[in-house]
Symmetry: C2
Subunit: 332 residues, 2 copies
Amino acid sequence: MAVTARDVALAAGVSQRTVSDVVNLPGRVGAETRIRVQAVIDELGYRPNPHARSLRNRRSGLIALVVPQLDVPYFSDLARCLIPELSKRSLTLVVDQTNGDPERERAVLTGGAVSSTFDGVLLNALNLTAADVEAAAATQPIVLLGERDYGTGADHVAVDGTEAAYAATRHLIERGCTRIAAIGRQEHSIGTAMQRTAGFVRAMEESGLDAFRYMAEGEYDRASGAAVMGSMLDTTEPPDGVFCFNDLMALGAMRAAWTRGVDIPGDLAIVGFDDIEDGRYAKTSLTTIAPDKAAIARDAVEMLVERVAGLDGPGRRVRAGFELVVRESSAL
Amino acid sequence: MAVTARDVALAAGVSQRTVSDVVNLPGRVGAETRIRVQAVIDELGYRPNPHARSLRNRRSGLIALVVPQLDVPYFSDLARCLIPELSKRSLTLVVDQTNGDPERERAVLTGGAVSSTFDGVLLNALNLTAADVEAAAATQPIVLLGERDYGTGADHVAVDGTEAAYAATRHLIERGCTRIAAIGRQEHSIGTAMQRTAGFVRAMEESGLDAFRYMAEGEYDRASGAAVMGSMLDTTEPPDGVFCFNDLMALGAMRAAWTRGVDIPGDLAIVGFDDIEDGRYAKTSLTTIAPDKAAIARDAVEMLVERVAGLDGPGRRVRAGFELVVRESSAL
DNA sequence: AGCCCCTTGTGCTACGTAGCACAAGAACGT
DNA sequence: ACGTTCTTGTGCTACGTAGCACAAGGGGCT
């Protein structure tokens, strides 16, 4: 079977303890012994058993990023930003996909094969209740991502979705749009959708525009954006601007416009949210809200590492920055 | 600290062994005892420690998917296909991103925090040598993905890149294109790029066309596709068709065409590779080679599970299917 | 000379789990 | 009545590691 520290010790004529020291505290071992033991380690191909190590250390060096879907570019962008932050601290990122299944999201937190396998969890949950999260945060290090409001139990990093949505909508208004649609509301959402809806409504009502005339629900993927936009464009008085609550829906909406010969931004200005790469390479590049993903990653990792180190105390909330990036889809 | 099986045993007035049985072999325990112990488990919130469990079982229930980049849609598509296949077998997928860093790819295999943390590894490596892989496959269960040719040491699932590229090129030729470009060759590649180049060249030469006139290197992302296509279009006799070795480059190429007022498919027909969702929602939907990702996932998991179960023997090679999906970017 | 400290090495144990080997009692057949 | 088998439960140990507590030896200082 696998080579153990004991095998090395036997072969090198030292104690197992010394082998462990050579691996973990080389400074503690005399030069001559260290070199001899190291030679045996290399020769036998000894690798410390990670399971035993984790059991002993109560630490695995693994951090999990739990997201509903991996094929949402926003999440893979986030993962890319997180990796260097974690590497700096000798931690490894692994990604776990829940498909938005609340069952599975809960399983990640309460136990299953996953929970304490990891030193900490970065969680972007869609369908958990505040109580679920609260309970989990008491048990293990967790940092929440995304604009959901979970109460105060756990650390939390997110952009201010209301402010961001307000900025996006203001941009369409200042550009001269008057019949402005919003796609992405979700009836029972208490999170992302709710905040973005609120920001949109505030901007619209401030300017005396009807916020609800062109407001539609949406599923946050391309197909949904295309379908919703399509049916809006097929009405007698279609909108002349649309704020899609994420870039994927915006790309779907663009596709719907193109297939109907609607000019962007001439007939219809579009603003998205997330700043994914696709948006920059669309036929008409996409105006969007760009959350500061690097800052989100940095702050989330910092807070999580503190929790892993044993920090106790109430949940903290960090607001990440964002920026309105104006591109062709809303140019004048 | 955390509740252990011993705590439960004490509280329930049974042995630790019986607690273990209630959790793992409920049938072995009498109904009355089982219910009583289960009640104590629920009350105390006992969760088996995964590290101890892994150490004891020599199994963690975790399978790693190792990819160069997560924000390449092909990989996230693949991950999505893998998850249900693994769930069926009570395995959990975690994704590890290497950034194509050979150092890190090797670390995943030879040890580090990662290696035997996982029961098995699905590896899509860019920069490992055949020797690296050969050595790793001898040590732990591995299935390789992607069209690289690593020798015969490990199991391997991939589409026949040469055949697929041949089909894509034939399609452009039959459509009537005569000045056909290929983007994505890589000088020193022994994998994906080489196979796709070979298929392209075969199709071109069969038809007496110059395969190398419009052949260019490329980085497999949108930026590279846009840059390369752009400079081709700026020549006096630009190509009238292009086969991009993946969809991302094809989307970049489209963007380059649009910004120059080149009509797709009128002036330029485009074919990509991977069938990512972006391609279906582009202004001009993208013709592409669609690898049978579900089959790849199914076969890869099946082979890996056999290896985890202890199957020994030489590496096997499975060819996955593919399909040419004709969309607007090459329509007549 | 006597003392202390620093360096280098070791035996032993705990981390929390799963399962071998076994025992006591019940159920069953002859 | 007796042996056999089945059910239900238990004590003990190993998985492979890290670190506490300690010991032996050598050097420097007063």
